[in-house]
């Protein structure tokens, strides 16, 4: 009897084991096959696998860089420049996409028929045109129609827009670190303040106006550093300089290249449509009874929004919106199409052309994106767990 049971068990286990072993075997075989081919191919081309090239001199220039870079720096540094440019355009895109998306999402729920319809059409139009086409449109069609350097569009004499880019004043700081420390310090104070306020409210029912004190702190502390901390700020305004009879350039200030402008514009306008839909779904997802119940216990309109509607709506809005942020970051790789020097163009483009190390470079690029995605999704899971309704 026992023996029979054992036999049955074993056969069941075998049934489970065989497909698994086959899968693993198949994977190993594929990897071996690819490795052998790759080795012989690289041998034929006289290169060997390795990441030593990263410390070699890159000897190519990058048009736009946040850190010091020129041809004498290494490939690793070129990679860093590309990565920073990717992060820069993603951050700008996320910032504007969020503002635009939330505005449009709320506008879609407006009682005003015209506003709701315009918002709806915005979403329908920009969601259904491929992003790459929108980038092309802004870069090759819209921004190329801007005036030449001589007759730039002038914004109050401090900022200039022309076909070469957008010139804005540069912030020149002294003792910048003290300023930053004061902001960090303000945040720490606010954190303890909110803990203290919550404690007081839970224990004694006392209300402390946390919001006003926090605003005061975050404006007041940095302001104090200007008065007594020796921090000062001045602006370097771009100036039109004549190089020769017909050649003009802007000197000083910060120039934002048209590639960055068009990429950020297209990314934020495209992603905003998806964020708008998320916001709309989130607000609609809070049932009417919740608002009515909150009103019936005497909460004011502002309190209902802050304490009842928003926490529940955010729970619906945030997970898909994080996904959209992730998509935006991945979509920023389309930069390669208009020669914005992001990680794909700099590293998987130029560096690959020069070194011919396809396997190493493509793997590094993909791993970078992969770790970016995975870290965001790990964060999202953690956040979801934290925000999930705690049922007792």
């Amino acid at each position: 009897m026992n023996l029979k049971n054992l036999k049955l068990n074993l056969s069941n286990k075998n049934k489970d084991l065989i497909p698994q072993i086959l899968t693993v075997l198949f994977l190993i075989l594929v990897v071996i096959y690819f490795t052998i081919n790759a080795q012989s191919n690289m041998g034929n081309r006289g290169i060997s696998f390795g990441f030593g090239f990263l410390s070699q001199e890159s000897s190519f220039d990058i048009t736009f860089s946040l850190i010091d870079y020129d041809g004498s720096h290494t490939y690793a540094r070129a990679f860093l420049v590309g990565l920073l440019n990717t992060i820069l355009v993603s951050a700008i895109g996320i910032f504007f996409a969020t503002i635009l998306g939330v505005t449009i999402g709320i506008a879609r729920l407006s009682q005003n028929y015209l506003v709701a319809k315009s918002a709806e059409w915005y979403v329908e139009i920009f969601r259904n045109i491929p992003l790459i086409l929108q980038i092309f449109f802004w870069y090759f069609a819209a921004l190329r129609a801007l005036p030449l350097t001589v007759d730039s569009i002038n914004f109050y004499d401090i900022s200039f827009l022309n076909v070469k880019g957008w010139y804005v004043p540069k912030f020149v700081w002294t003792n910048f670190s003290i300023f930053i420390y004061s902001i960090i310090f303000a945040f720490i104070l606010i954190y303890f303040l909110s803990k203290y306020a919550q404690n007081q409210r839970d224990k004694f029912g006392k209300q402390i106006p946390t919001l006003y004190i926090s605003i005061l702190l975050i404006i007041g502390l940095p302001f104090l550093t200007f008065l007594i901390g020796g921090v000062s700020l001045s602006f370097e305004i771009p100036e039109l300089t004549q190089l020769s009879k017909t050649v003009y350039v802007y000197r000083g200030g910060v120039s934002i290249i048209p590639e960055l402008i068009s990429l950020a514009l297209a990314l934020s306008m495209y992603t905003a449509t998806f964020i708008a839909e998320n916001v709309r779904a989130g607000i609609l997802g809070v049932s009417k009874g919740q608002k009515e119940a909150a009103a019936s216990i005497g909460l004011t309109k502002g309190q209902i929004l802050k304490l009842v509607v928003m926490p529940q709506a955010l729970r619906i809005i945030i997970p898909p919106t994080t996904n959209q942020y992730l998509n935006l970051t991945k979509n920023s790789s389309l930069a390669a199409a208009i020669a914005y020097p992001d990680i794909v163009l700099v590293f998987a483009g130029t560096a690959l052309m020069q070194t011919g190390r396809a396997i190493e470079i493509i793997s590094i690029t993909m791993l970078t994106y992969l770790s970016l995605s995975l870290s965001i999704s790990v964060f999202m899971n953690w956040y979801n767990k934290k925000m999930a309704i705690k049922e007792k």
């Binding site: 489970d16 497909p19 698994q20 072993i21 899968t23 693993v24 994977l27 690819f34 081919n37 790759a38 012989s40 191919n41 690289m42 034929n44 407006s110 009682q111 005003n112 028929y113 015209l114 506003v115 315009s118 329908e124 139009i125 969601r127 259904n128 045109i129 491929p130 992003l131 790459i132 086409l133 929108q134 092309f136 449109f137 090759f140 069609a141 819209a142 190329r144 129609a145 991945k330 979509n331 790789s333 389309l334 390669a336 199409a337 794909v344 998987a348 690959l352 396809a358 396997i359 493509i362 690029t365 993909m366 994106y369 992969l370 970016l372 995605s373 995975l374």
Partner: protein, 418 residues
């Protein structure tokens, strides 16, 4: 407050309506005159105030006609939809003024000032859009560099496809199965052979010459057909209780979902050939198709998984209690129901796929957007970027809009059916 005299009430309804409408009318006249006839009727005021007068007139007019339960149906409708508060009134006016200011110039550029006749750039003289550019290049935009004399092959392939799909809706249930199997497994090979040629007396056309809108359809249709079974298997694998299979599936799915398509295409272009035996040449289009298929299969897997998770547990248990094995249970009971649930999701994946196809320019294949890029750099047609992108955008927009509408309707229908 003094303003309370002006507070509208029902007693003098008609006079308030008359006064309010008159003010709104003046506001509209003001904006129309200033934006189209460049005359400013309020020029006697300071510059900045004069700029805002239409808004002030309109706001005040709307304030006067804001009478609740007036008994006038039209007025009540206007008030609830456009004029429920001062803020709403302001928004309404801003939207209307923006429309008045920007729609006519756009229309002028698009239609009234546009050039339709002629064959060269020099025929475009009137300042509006130069649709001559699109007209001349239309053939290239649709067929790419495919030879003119052979284009009937593409037409035939697509016409047959439409006929077959159309027929599958009308034939009795019994034959429907065969048509779908034919469409999924046999037709792609025939269609591809017809377009690429080489045998049966058809001239061989290399894939580098394929392009334009037809390539968009070819790539997206093939990728969809191919990614569907792979995605389904991956979804089943991810839900399998066997760890080796589950983790392989998870790894595969997350790998593709974590990287942008453009790097995958780069990979197919430069890294993939390194992994094959020396001297093997795989066609560019095939490589692209493999890359896009694997990429989309990962997304499809997640869609299908959503359907599998949505099915109640009872379905699995019932199937098992009938003595069905794993495959029988999934193919006869689970998948037919789960796939039906996720048809909208599949449609959305397809939509994303169509919007992603322009990216194949990185390996040198030129579909519609790529052809526009090529055409606008033609020395005879410089400066036509705007027209080209607007045209391409319009084409993509129509395709995607129709599809998204279809999937939304389907979603609603499925929701009510359950």
């Amino acid at each position: 407050m003094n303003l309370s005299i002006l507070k509208s009430d029902k007693k003098n309804l008609n006079s308030f309506i008359a006064a309010g409408s008159a003010l709104i009318f003046i506001g509209f006249i003001d904006i129309i005159l200033s934006s189209f006839f460049s005359t400013n009727i309020t020029a006697f005021l300071p510059n900045k105030i004069s700029y805002l007068t239409p808004l002030l007139f309109g706001l005040f007019g709307l304030y006067l006609i804001r009478i609740e339960f007036s008994g006038n149906k039209l007025l009540d409708k206007v008030n609830t939809n456009f004029n429920s508060s001062n803020f709403n009134a302001l928004l309404t006016l801003l939207v209307i003024f923006a429309l008045i200011k920007y729609i006519p110039p756009l229309l002028n550029w698009f239609v009234f000032d546009a050039n339709f006749a002629g064959n060269t750039k020099e025929d475009c003289t009137s300042g509006g859009a130069c649709w001559v550019f699109v007209k001349v290049w239309l053939n290239r935009f649709v067929y790419g560099l495919y030879p003119d004399t052979e284009q009937w092959r593409i037409n035939t392939a697509f016409l047959t496809l439409f006929l077959l799909v159309g027929a599958s809706f009308f034939v009795p249930q019994k034959f429907k199965k065969y048509i779908i199997i034919f469409l999924l497994f046999v037709y792609p090979i025939i269609g591809l052979k017809l377009i690429s040629g080489g045998d049966f007396g058809l001239k061989y056309v290399e894939t580098g010459a394929w392009g334009g809108l037809s390539l968009t359809f070819i790539v997206s249709a093939f990728a969809l057909i191919l990614c569907f079974p792979i995605g389904t298997i991956l979804a089943l694998g991810r839900r399998s209780k066997l760890p080796a299979i589950r983790y392989t599936s998870i790894g595969f799915i997350e790998l593709w979902r974590g990287v942008p398509l453009i790097t995958v295409l780069f990979m197919s272009a430069v890294m993939f050939p390194m992994f094959l035996p020396d001297g093997t040449y795989v066609d560019k289009l095939i490589r692209v198709l493999i890359a896009i298929t694997l990429f989309e299969a990962a997304y499809m897997a997640e869609v299908v998984r959503g359907g599998l998770q949505a099915l109640p547990k009872g379905q699995y248990e019932a199937a098992k209690s009938l003595g069905m094995g794993y495959w029988k249970m999934h193919f006869l009971i689970i998948l037919p129901q789960a796939l039906k649930l996720v048809i909208p999701g599949i449609a959305n994946t397809f939509l994303a796929l169509v919007k992603d196809t322009p990216l194949i320019f990185v390996v040198g294949l030129l579909e519609l957007a790529g052809m526009v890029n090529l055409a606008k750099t033609n020395p005879k047609w410089l400066g036509m970027a705007m027209e080209g992108y607007v045209f391409a955008g319009l084409v993509f927009w129509v395709i995607c809009y129709v599809m998204s509408r279809y999937s939304q309707n389907l979603e609603k229908k499925l929701k009510t059916e359950r």
